[in-house]
């Protein structure tokens, strides 16, 4: 039993890690990013190939890929982000979905559908505490998820940029009137979200196989975690991650993978209908930035 709990919590941290970026992009900016899963997939492939060719550990490449992603989105991809932010929600859905399809199939074309994984010094390492066993890699992700959650939380709360982001999210027009360059804020936040997601991808490589369509499942979980935890609430994402992680660990024995998806979708609809603000979201704020 305690094994299940520990697995669940570690998994929860993992799920939170892949969702933090989406929380910034969808939760804070309200940009529906259907390519979120593909961001993870691309980052995983990048980490994979750098390991394959240069023997660079994925954890190290994660620390390189993330800032690179950030820079990319702040510079080269900037006009794209601006255009995305200016589009209606349906437009966003389809533009990002289209990007997702392109990325998925590029990966398919270039790397084939084969499942690939890395085998680093520690990727098979397991730790035992009493009767409980878990993998080191998952522990690392879990710990980092806590770190990132705390860091991001304080950043948004205390730093000037953080407050600027929150102001823009609450009322774009007023933020503009207060002299905030909302475009910059959107691009910055998006880039930050993308970078964190890319970082998560690197962390995931020692744990999961990578293949072109791996993104969908991650994206699904990320959306549920973000909405369950509360859009825009960083601690909420962590909490949401734990709930889903524990649920999955505890029910893993009893139900099949597809039924698990079914349950996720049902939870999803239930949250949306009953408490769209999520666990930690502020009631009423779920509609901010929406139509």
């Amino acid at each position: 039993m305690s094994q299940l709990l520990v697995s669940g919590i570690l998994l929860g941290g993992l799920y939170a890690m892949i969702s933090i970026g989406l929380n910034l992009i969808f939760g804070v900016l309200r940009i529906v990013n259907f390519a979120h899963g593909e961001f993870i997939m691309v980052s995983m492939y990048l980490a994979y190939w750098t390991y394959f060719y240069y023997k660079i550990d994925p954890y190290i490449s994660a620390f390189v890929i993330a800032p690179l992603t950030f820079l990319l989105f702040m510079t080269v991809f900037r006009p794209f982000v601006v255009k995305l932010a200016d589009s209606s929600h349906l437009g966003q859905v389809f533009i990002t979905f289209g990007i997702g399809i392109v990325l998925q199939n590029l990966a398919l074309m270039l790397f084939s559908a084969d499942y690939r994984s890395v085998d680093t010094a520690y990727s098979r390492m397991r730790i035992a505490l009493g009767e409980v066993q878990f993998s080191l890699a998952r522990l690392v992700v879990f710990l980092l998820s806590l770190v990132f959650t705390a860091a991001l939380y304080y950043y948004l709360k205390k730093s000037y940029m953080g407050k600027t982001i929150r102001a823009t999210m609450q009322n774009r027009t007023v933020a503009m009137l207060m002299g905030i360059d909302t475009r910059k804020v959107y691009v910055f936040t998006f880039a930050l979200g993308a970078a964190i997601t890319a970082f998560a991808g690197g962390l995931l490589l020692p744990i999961f196989y990578v293949y072109p369509t791996i993104g969908f499942n991650f994206a699904l979980i990320a959306f549920i975690v973000v909405i369950l935890g509360g859009l825009g609430s960083i601690p909420g994402t962590l909490a949401g991650g734990f709930v889903i992680g524990l649920t999955e660990a505890l029910s893993g024995y009893f139900i099949s993978a597809s039924m698990k998806q079914l349950v996720y979708f049902c939870i999803f609809i239930l949250i949306l209908v009953l408490r769209p603000a999520g666990l930690f979201g502020q009631r009423g704020t779920e509609e901010l930035g929406v139509k």
């Binding site: 589009s87 009322n171 027009t173 039924m259 079914l262 209908v273 769209p276």
Partner: protein
Amino acid sequence: MTKHRSLKHEFGPIRIVLLVLPALLALVIPNAFVRDIAILMMLWSAAASAWNLLGGFAGQLSIGHTAFFGIGAYTSTLLYINFSVSPWIGMIAGALMAALIGVILGSITFPLKGPFFSLSTLAFAEIVRIISISWSDLTRGSQGIVIKYTPGFGKFVFDSPVPYILIAWLFMIGVYGVAVYFNNSRLGFYLMAYRESEDAARALGINTVTVRLKAAAISAGLTAMLGTFYAQYILFIDPESVFIVDNSLQMVLLSLVGGIGTTIGPIIGGYIMVPLGQLLRSTFGDAVPGFHLVVYGLCMVLILMYLPGGIVSLLNRRPFGGIRLKRPDRRRDGHGSVGNA
């Protein structure tokens, strides 16, 4: 009568040509590939038009419509396999079933705004898909159902492509007709009013819930009928063909590309995207797996980014109806319409 919504315009010479074209081509050109594309084109144009009734006119952007498509396909097929009910009757049954489910789903999800509504429709469609796979006692699960090839009008199976061409065409014209009706009726005006401003609509006496539920029922029912047609044309259905999200997205994409909220938009979208997709798949499909989808995806992204009003907006300097894909500048009451105390 306003100029662009009149029957004279909706059935004007250019429109007539456009509407008749695929059927004409399919009948005249004896190539099986061309005929297949024409039929699929008309099928998906009709499906997109049916989606557009709810998505374009009412602004309720569902990305789960494949659920209705599949419900139609499975209802008529299961009735036929198990009870020998003619698929024509099964089609009506499927439509009614879908309409009912559409209304139930709508009443639960309509209060949700924007992306939340869309996401919930997606979740719903996926739930239906997973159920269709797991409840294999009813649906034969992943292995799907084969419909026996026994030609006969009553069985809705034909040995020549001509009846299929005509039926697909009739469906397309039929749904177009419904769209024209929407454009020129109280229901349609009320839906559009809701789409533009829910508060204004309510203040003008419109029961926005009832009106949308009606649209949902009609849209779902028509989509289901097309699912039945699909089943009878392909003679094989399984969850991976009739319940997948790709179908939902196809319906929306066609409407977006052609011009969402317009009557002819979804049809134009179908004329462009279906042959494009089929041609890409047949040219590149096997050689370089995934390439045709890369091109398809890029087309999607480019059109949506640079032509949000769809093709129709190119042809008309003034886009009529339809959802503006650019988000208007937020007014000061960002928190909702009721204003401040």
